[in-house]
Symmetry: C2
Subunit: 263 residues, 2 copies
């Protein structure tokens, strides 16, 4: 079973179009972009296209990559906050910027990515994984789950989600052995390391959710070698799997925060 | 299978005792009590006992039941807010009080019951139902679920939870036909109507979660006739089922809000 992320995303957009009619004020989404990278740029382009479709205005703040300081970004954030209903700080930021401090300063009521100190929504990729689990009625409770990576947007929140659903969760960090993959019933990949998971590392019938994205030879590719699809009972391709659903969930988060504000 | 709520609650308290050590400031829980009722009083007594055990100080505000106005309660709330880490407005309030307006004025970062306009935590009873589902690895996705009642603390949030877990959810409001119970794989009761659900209304093997509490002849009783236990594959008794778990989840919510504040 290959998950069709675009189809699942479309059903979410159908719900959001109905919700949009119930929110009478304009909805604005602020995006702070700090690095010049083709993968990041493709993410921003997709969000901008979906925003236009849903009647959401994008307010974009570009940082000068080499010279931007933490206080520049904090100032950009402070300028955006009163203007928009939700804010994305497109990660990664340039290395000289204190990402933790910056994220902590996003007001939770505008934090559509769920990465501030006290988020009100779950990060979109974790929501996308939850949506796939629901959509396919996947059994999670008491299953062995392995999450590769422990980033803010993917690995961390996906590990929490799977724990909440009752799975036994092992997290594999960078440089650690990949052996636990062999026994996993459910694998979530969020390393951003092109195609490093091969079929022979996996158990037959694994649920393989690939939320890793990186660029290889000008294309966006996942953490799993596409050949893994043959070994998996459920497989999410990159592109076209988790990605489109996560974008839809980002706008679902935005509408939730914007709708609350309009009450 | 009869759920032992006290046992599940104890395992949550073991986790909370560890968490408590990580929070260095005193933790205070405010409770506003507006009605003089033996069931409400027993709820407050239990919370007070658990608070003492977990090193949480209770700050109680008593309202004069007959003469309290909405603005009296709003004022009591405003007095409590700066003094405590979390606030419970013990429902129901006296009839002359505008409960909606009052709940909307609880700051979300102190709202341990998850009933303000923009809650950060789920209501404790819904968290208790989630905990039972996890603990027993109950299958929910694609199952027929019926929730009886649509109150803020039980029916409403339990319906949302079951939907999020992929169930087909039917809500039965007061006065509506109980026929849908016959086909339900999962039933959550939150009507507060003593023992009105009888075994012959239910499907064999139903998961019956009784979150209804009311007083009958001086005792706290549930919505289900205890004879339903024989027909159910999973049954939560009253007292001793959902109740103790919900109290533990209330303190889990409090620690989550208090911990965030202490960072």
């Amino acid at each position: 079973m290959i998950i069709n992320g675009k189809e699942i995303a479309e059903s979410i957009y159908a719900d959001l179009a109905v919700q949009r009619e119930g929110i009478t004020h304009p909805i604005k989404l602020g995006i702070i972009v700090g690095t010049n990278d083709p993968v990041i740029e493709s993410f921003v382009r997709i969000k901008t296209r979906i925003a236009a479709r849903l009647g959401v205005e994008i307010v974009r703040e570009e940082l000068p990559e080499r010279v931007a300081t933490t206080s520049d970004v904090v100032a950009a954030l402070a300028r955006l906050v009163p203007l928009v209903d939700g804010i994305i700080v497109q990660l990664p930021l340039p290395v000289q910027i204190d990402t933790d401090a910056l994220l902590a300063s996003i007001p939770s009521e505008k934090d559509v990515d769920g990465i501030s100190a006290t988020p009100r929504v779950r990060p979109p990729v974790a929501e996308a994984v939850a949506e796939i689990i629901r959509h396919e009625c996947l059994e999670v409770c008491d299953k062995q789950a392995v999450v590769v990576g422990s980033g803010r947007l993917v690995g961390g929140p996906c590990a929490i989600l799977l724990q909440e659903l009752g799975a036994q969760v092992t997290v594999i960090n960078k440089g650690e052995s990949l052996d636990p993959l062999k026994d996993a019933d459910i694998v979530v990949l969020g390393a951003g390391n092109p195609g490093f998971v091969k079929p022979d590392m996996l158990k037959d019938g694994v649920v393989l959710i690939d939320a890793g994205t990186s660029e290889s030879a000008g294309k966006v590719v996942g953490d799993a070698d596409p050949a893994c699809a043959q070994k998996a009972s459920v497989f999410t391709p990159v592109p076209g799997g988790v990605g489109p659903i996560a974008v839809a969930m980002l706008f679902k988060n935005l509408f939730a925060l914007a709708g609350v504000k309009s009450e």
